[in-house]
Symmetry: C2
Subunit: 765 residues, 2 copies
C-alpha cells in the first residue's frame, strides 16, 4: 500500500496550543456565579455513618449547600465507560450511589459541600463531624473470597463474577498426564495508578433551556451523557457533555467518576455551575486503579518444548465497587487462551473480587499488562526448566497467521510477530548476550530479557463497535472534520486528519479538526478505549471522506462531461486520469459547489460505522539490564519495543505512544505499587512522593521499532497501538533480571527492597 499523507510524521495539530499554553483545559473555564464543591470522605474502610453534625460547617460564611446521602435522589448507576448493551445480562453492574451511607473503602464519598470557593468548601468539610459504625474490612482478594470474610455488597459473597473457560481436545487432567514436564507457579501483580497529569475535574450547570450541561475531562463524553442521564433519571437529550482539552486519562477517565456528583450538586444549587476538582490524593484512592491480579499457573510441555496443557487461575482485586466489573480479568483470560495455544487442553478460571480498597477500573492495557507479565515470566521459566532458549520456546508455541481465536472466533489476518522477534534478537544481540552473561559473579550483573504479546483491537465481538465522523468542505477545498472519537493527548485528531487528507487527496494542512467532544455537535462515538479509535473511528472517517471525495468527483465529471471513474484528486487538484490532464483545482470546484447559482450544494458527509471485525496487534520487548545484587537496584541499559500495529499512520505519534507505554510498564516493573495500612485500610501511597512513579532520572532511553504488515480489516491496514506498548516491558525486565542473577521474581514491583530480599533469600548478598 502506498500512501501520501498516512505514514508521514506530520506535526500534531495541537502542538502549538499545548506548548504555548493556549489550549484550554476544564480548569481554565470560568462561568459567572461558579461554585466549588469538596467531598466529605469516610475515615474508615468499612461500615456505616451513624450520624452527621453539620452545625459548625453550616455557619461558615460562603457555604452554599451541604449535601448528605439522604438528600440525594438518584438511581444506582454503573460507572464503567463501556458501550451500552440492550441485553440486561451484558449491562454493567449499577452499584454506585453518588453519596453512600454504607462505606466500602477508606475515602468513600459520604457527603459534599458546595461553597463560593474551594478553600471555604474544604474548611466546611473539615468542620463536619461524623460518627461511624465500623465493620471488619478485607484488603486482599483471595482473603475476601474465603468463608467468613467481611462482605461488601449484599450478604452472600465478594465474588463479583467467576468464569471458567475450557477448550482443547482433551480433559485437562488427561492432558497433563501426557506431559513430560509440568510447572506450577504463582505471580502477583500489585495494583498501580494511572497518574495522569490532569486530575479528574468536571463542572455542571443547567443551561437556560433546562438542559444539564457537564464540562469534563473525560475519554467518553457520549457515555458520560448516558450514565448521568441514567443516574439522575433524565432523558438523554436533556444532558449535554463537553470535553475540552484533556491532560491524560490512561483509562481512568474511561469511567464516570465525578460527573454525576457535579451534576447532582448543580441541580441541588438551582442549576448554578458547580465544579468538582479532585486532589491528587483523591484521584489515588477515590478514582480508579489498575487491578492487582494474582495468577496461578499449571503448565505442561513435551520434552521437545511443545505446549500440551495449561491452566490459569486469576484472582482480580476489584476494590470496593464494580466499575468495569469482570471484563478486565476476563480480557486477560481470553489473552491467555489465545497467545500460546496448548495442543491438548486449556482451562482458565477467573475471579473478580470486591475488597475494601480503591476501586480498580480500566487502565491502559486493560488487564493485559498483568497477565502478560505473569505468562511471559512463566513461559520463560518453563523454557529454562526444559533447557530451551526462551525465545525459541515462545516462537515455537505462539499463535501463527491464520489462527482462529477460540473465544472470539476472530481469524488472524496479519501477523508481524516473527519479524518483530527477529528484529528484537538482532537489536539486543540475543544469542551472544545469552551466552556471555552466564555464570556472572560480582555485585553488578547483566542480563537480557524478552517478552512478546498479542493484543486485540477494539471490543468486537464481545461488545458493539460504532463510530461517527462528519466531514464538510470549505470554499477553498479545505475540510472540517468532526469525529466523536476522543483526543485525549494521544494524537487521534491528527491521525484522523491524516486519514481524511489521504482519502481526499489533499495535504494534511487542509483538514481542520473540530476539537474536543461536544455531544451536541460531535457524532456519536463511545470514546477513547480499547485501542479502538484509529481502527473503528478510522473506518467512519474513511467512509465520510470517500463520500465527500465521490461528491467532488461526480461534480467534476458532470462539469467536464467525463466518466466519474476518470476523475482523480491529487494534491488538491482535480485530474482527468486517462488524459493525464489537470481539470481544475479543488478550490475552484469547491467555490462552484457553494456559489454556482443554479447548482449550488455544499459538500458534506456524515457516516456512522458499525465495525464488525477485529485484528490482533503484536510485538516484543527486549532489554538488557544491570542488576546490583547488593542493593537490589536495576539499571536498564537498553530496551526496545518492536510493534506490529499494521500500518503506522504517523511515526512520530506512534513512537510517542510506544515510549509512554514503555515508561508505564517500567514503572509497573520496578517501582510503582499501591500500599494500604493493614490496620485502618487507608491507602499509604496516595501522593506522588510516596508513590514511586518513575521520574525522568529513572527513565532509560527507549528504542522503538515497527514492522508494518497490512491488515485487511483495518481502514488503512492499521491495528491497535495505543495500549500495547504498556504490555511487554515488565516481563522482559523480570526475565533479564533472572538472566543476570538466576533469581526468579514472582511479584511486582521489583524495587530495591523486594529484590534485596529475593537476592538475600537466594544467598546472593
Amino acid at each position: 500500500m502506498s500512501f501520501n499523507v498516512i505514514g508521514k510524521p506530520v506535526q500534531r495539530g495541537d502542538a502549538a496550543a499545548k506548548v504555548t499554553g493556549r489550549a484550554l483545559y476544564t480548569r481554565d473555564m470560568k462561568m459567572p456565579g461558579m461554585l466549588y464543591a469538596k467531598i466529605l470522605r469516610a475515615e474508615i474502610a468499612h461500615g456505616y455513618v451513624k450520624s452527621y453534625d453539620i452545625s459548625e460547617a453550616e455557619k461558615l460564611p460562603g457555604v452554599v449547600k451541604i449535601v448528605l446521602p439522604k438528600d440525594v435522589k438518584a438511581n444506582p448507576w454503573p460507572s464503567a465507560g463501556h458501550p451500552y448493551s440492550l441485553n440486561p445480562a451484558h449491562q454493567d453492574i449499577a452499584d454506585r450511589q453518588i453519596l453512600n451511607e454504607k462505606i466500602r473503602l477508606f475515602g468513600d464519598e459520604i457527603g459534599a459541600v458546595v461553597a463560593k470557593d474551594e478553600l471555604t468548601a474544604e474548611k466546611a468539610v473539615k468542620l463536619i463531624k461524623v460518627a461511624y459504625e465500623a465493620l471488619p474490612f478485607v484488603l486482599d482478594a483471595e482473603e475476601a473470597m474465603k468463608e467468613g470474610a467481611p462482605i461488601l455488597h449484599g450478604d452472600e459473597t465478594n465474588i463479583l463474577r467467576h468464569t471458567d473457560i475450557k477448550h482443547g481436545k482433551e480433559e485437562l487432567s488427561t492432558a497433563f498426564s501426557k506431559c513430560d514436564y509440568i510447572l506450577e507457579q504463582e505471580f502477583d501483580v500489585t495494583p498501580v495508578q494511572h497518574a495522569h497529569l490532569e486530575n479528574h475535574i468536571a463542572y455542571a450547570y443547567v443551561d437556560p433551556e433546562d438542559r444539564l450541561t457537564i464540562v469534563t475531562s473525560t475519554q467518553i463524553a457520549h457515555i458520560v451523557r448516558r450514565v448521568v442521564a441514567h443516574a439522575l433519571n433524565l432523558p438523554f437529550g436533556k444532558v449535554r457533555v463537553i470535553q475540552p482539552y484533556i491532560g491524560g486519562g490512561f483509562g481512568n477517565k474511561q469511567d464516570v467518576v465525578i460527573e454525576p456528583m457535579a451534576a447532582m450538586l448543580s441541580l441541588a444549587c438551582n442549576g448554578r455551575p458547580v465544579m468538582v476538582d479532585l486532589t491528587r490524593e483523591e484521584v489515588f484512592y477515590g478514582s480508579r486503579t489498575r487491578h492487582g491480579i494474582r495468577f496461578k499457573f499449571k503448565t505442561g510441555v513435551s520434552k521437545d518444548g511443545r505446549l500440551l496443557a495449561k491452566s490459569m487461575v486469576s484472582i482480580g482485586n476489584n476494590g470496593a465497587y464494580a466499575s468495569h466489573g469482570h471484563s478486565i480479568v476476563a480480557k486477560g483470560g481470553t489473552n491467555f487462551s489465545r497467545t500460546y495455544p496448548a495442543e491438548l487442553a486449556t482451562e482458565w478460571n477467573g475471579y473478580t473480587v470486591y475488597t475494601n480498597t480503591a476501586t480498580a477500573g480500566a487502565m491502559r492495557g486493560y488487564g493485559i499488562p498483568q497477565v502478560n507479565f505473569a505468562v511471559e515470566c512463566h513461559m520463560d521459566d518453563l523454557a529454562d526448566d526444559i533447557g530451551m532458549d526462551p525465545i525459541e520456546f515462545k516462537q515455537k508455541n505462539v499463535m501463527k497467521l491464520g489462527f482462529v481465536d477460540p473465544v472470539s472466533g476472530i481469524e488472524i489476518k496479519s501477523c508481524g510477530l516473527p519479524e518483530c522477534i527477529e528484529k528484537g534478537k538482532a537489536y539486543i544481540d540475543w544469542d551472544n548476550k545469552r551466552k556471555e552473561y552466564l555464570n556472572q559473579k560480582g555485585d553488578k550483573r547483566k542480563g537480557v530479557g524478552f517478552a512478546l504479546f498479542s493484543y486485540a483491537t477494539a471490543v468486537w465481538p464481545f461488545s458493539m463497535e460504532l463510530a461517527g465522523a462528519r466531514l464538510t468542505m470549505n470554499q477553498d477545498g479545505s475540510l472540517q472534520l468532526t469525529v466523536g472519537a476522543a483526543e485525549i493527548g494521544q494524537g487521534s485528531d491528527t491521525v484522523f486528519a491524516q486519514m481524511a487528507a489521504e482519502v481526499m487527496g489533499v495535504p494534511f494542512s487542509m483538514v481542520n479538526v473540530v476539537r474536543g467532544t461536544d455531544t451536541d455537535i460531535h457524532p456519536y462515538d463511545p470514546g477513547a478505549y480499547a485501542s479502538r479509535q484509529t481502527y473503528v473511528a478510522g473506518q467512519a472517517v474513511r467512509q465520510a471522506a470517500e463520500s465527500v471525495r465521490d461528491q467532488v468527483c461526480a461534480r467534476a465529471a458532470k462539469k467536464y462531461d467525463i466518466d466519474v471513474k476518470d476523475v482523480e484528486i491529487r494534491d488538491a487538484k482535480i485530474y482527468r486520469v486517462s488524459a493525464g490532464r489537470l481539470l481544475c483545482t479543488l478550490e475552484q470546484l469547491a467555490m462552484e459547489s457553494f456559489y454556482e447559482k443554479d447548482e449550488s450544494s455544499t459538500i458534506a458527509s456524515e457516516k456512522s460505522a458499525n465495525v464488525k471485525s477485529n485484528a490482533l496487534a503484536f510485538g516484543v520487548c527486549v532489554t538488557e539490564v544491570e542488576v546490583d545484587v547488593k542493593t537490589g537496584k536495576v539499571n536498564i541499559l537498553k530496551i526496545c519495543n518492536i510493534h506490529d500495529s499494521g500500518t503506522i499512520i504517523n511515526p512520530i505519534l506512534a513512537s510517542g505512544q510506544v515510549e509512554g507505554g514503555m515508561s508505564m510498564s517500567c514503572g509497573l516493573a520496578l517501582s510503582e505499587g499501591l500500599k494500604y495500612d493493614p490496620k485502618t485500610g487507608q491507602m499509604l501511597t496516595d501522593n506522588l512522593l510516596d508513590y514511586k512513579l518513575p521520574t525522568v532520572l529513572d527513565t532509560p532511553h527507549f528504542d522503538v521499532d515497527f514492522v508494518e504488515p497490512y491488515d485487511v480489516t483495518g481502514p488503512f491496514g492499521n491495528k491497535a497501538l495505543g495500549e500495547p506498548p504498556a504490555v511487554p516491558p515488565a516481563a522482559a525486565i523480570r526475565n533479564a533480571i533472572k538472566h543476570a542473577t538466576g533469581v526468579r521474581v514472582f511479584a511486582t514491583p521489583m524495587n530495591p527492597q523486594s529484590l534485596f530480599e529475593a537476592f538475600r533469600e537466594a544467598g546472593l548478598n
Copy 2:
C-alpha cells in the same frame, strides 16, 4: 393543511436565557490577554490626511499598537452581506479599505489604537494629531449627480449605478396621451438608523493552529468568513467565524462593518485577541443607515380609475461607500413595476449615488419601506383626485393571483391580499369613518388611512439561495438541530425546531437547537436577510427531518417486517397505520439504533437546499389618527397590520415580528431622521437623545392579524414575514393625516415641526 406543532404559539427556546441574563453576547466573552481597539476617525467630511503625529499617543502607558493606513496590507473588499456570485459582473463593489487615506465622510476610519483597555485606547486616539487637506463635500444625492459636484470615488461621477426599466404594451409618452388624468408628485424619505440594542462588536484572534477566529455580532457569519478571507488574503478555511447571541441587527449586521478591522488588528498584534466595540455614536455615523430616497412620479389613469401609465424616478443616497450598492434602490424599482401593474406602460429609472454622508446599507425592508411610502401616498392622492375611494382604487389596480412578475418572471401562487383588505376595512370601520371625518373643524381632527404592500421572499432569481441543516437523533428520540441560518432575535431557531418537530412527529420540546453560528460547525447558509430563512432554510430543515424520519421508519419497517409506507410517527411513538397499532416508542427505536450490537447506526441527516422559487407576501395597514393642527402632533388611535405570509409557523413570534416592524415604520413616519450639519458634514443626530426613536410612551397599541393562504412553494406553505411589517404603516399614517386635515405631506418624518409648517402653509393654524 393541518399541522401539530407548526402554527402553535410555543415559547421561544431562548426566552429564559434572555430574561435571566444567562444568554452570553459577544461583550460577555473574555479571553486571556485580550486587547481593546479604538478607531481614529476623520473630522472632515471629504479630503485627505496630510500627516499624523502619533508621538504623544505612543508614549501613553498601555498602548500596544498604533496602526495607520500605510501599515495595512489588505485587498479592497466589498462589505455587503450578499450571497456571492461567481460572475464578476454580479459581484459587490470592493471599495472598502480597513483604514483610509482618502476621507469620504465625517467619521471615516483613518487609524486605530490597540491598548490593554478601552479607556487607554480612547485616550491615545485623542492624543493623535491629524493634519487634513479638506475638499468640498456634498450631502444631497441629487446635488451629487450634478455636473461639478465633488466626486467621492474615481474622478467621473458619483452615480454608482443607474438602471432604466421599461415594460408595457406601448411607449410611455403614447400611454400618457391616452390617460384621462395624470398626477406628478415627488416624495422624500429621509434616512433613518436601525438602532439595534447591541452595537457592532467583534473580536478576533489567531488560534493555536494558526486559524484566524472572529467572534462577532453578525447576521451573516458565513459571509463574514468570505469577506475577511478576501480582505486579508487568507484561504477561506483559515478563517473561522462564531456568532454568539446577538442583540439585534435589522440589516445593519448584514454588512461586514468591523470584522476586517478586528482581524487586521489581531494580526498586527501577533494574533492576540483584539476587541472592537463601537459606541452608539460610531454605529450611527460609522456603520450603515437606511437609504434616503427621493421619488418622482408621473402616473396616468382613466376616468373610471384604471391605471394606464406610470413612471418613477428614484434617487437613492448611498452615502460614502457602496455597501449593498444599487440593489436596495433596485428592489424598490421591481416592487414599483409589480405591485400596481399599469395597463399600457411602466418605466422606472433608478439612481444610486455616492455622497459624503453615512453609508447606507441593508435595513429591514431593503428599500421597500421607502418606495411603499411614496407609492401608497401617491396612489391615495390619485384616487382622491379622481374622486374614488383609495381602497377601491388600489384594489382595482393591484396585482392579482396568477400575476407573473415582469422582472423576476415569478408567478404569484398565493394571494391573501383581498382578504387582508376586507379585514382591514372592517377593523377600522372604513366606510363609516371615511364619511364621518369629512369636513372637520377645530384643533384636533381625526382621519383614517390605508396602505397595502407586496414583498418578495428571499432573493431568488436575482441571486442564489442555499441553506443547510443537520439533524441528529439522540438515544431518547430527541433531536439536535444545527442550522446555518442565523438566530438574530427574531426567533428563527424556535421556528426551525417547530418545523423539525412537525416532520418528525415529536413534540417541540424534543428538538434542541445548537445555538449561534460557528462556521466550523453550522452548515453553510449565508444568513439572516431578505426574510428568507423560514422559506429557504425551512426547506433544508424539512429535507433533513424527512430524511431522519424516513430512516426511523425504515428501521421500524425492518424490525416489524412491514411495509415502510405503513409506518408513521406520532407524538414520539411509532404506529402501524393499517392496523392502527402502536409498534414501539421512538425512544425504543432510537436506543436500538445506538445500541443494537449487530445493526447499530446512529440516525442523522445533513441537507443543503438550493431553493429556486420565490413567493410574494402581502398585507395592509389601517390606522386611525388624531392630528393636533395647532402643534403638529399626531396621535395614533388605532393601527393594525394584517399580513398574508402564508402559513404562520408560530403566532406569538409572528405577532412580535409584526409589532416590531410596525414600531419601526411609525418611527420612520413620525419622528426619526438623520440630519447633517451643512457646514461640516458632521451627523447631528448620532445619539439616542437627538435621534428621535419612539419610546414606549410614543408607541400606540399595535393590532395584528393574519390571513393564511397556503403557498405551495414554501416548505410549509409559508412566505416572508420578517421585513414586511415595517413596510405599510408609514403610508397609512400619512394618508390618515391627509384624511384628517386635507393636507398632503411629501416627506418623512411627519414630526410636529414639519406638520406645523405644512399646516401653516395650508392655513390651518
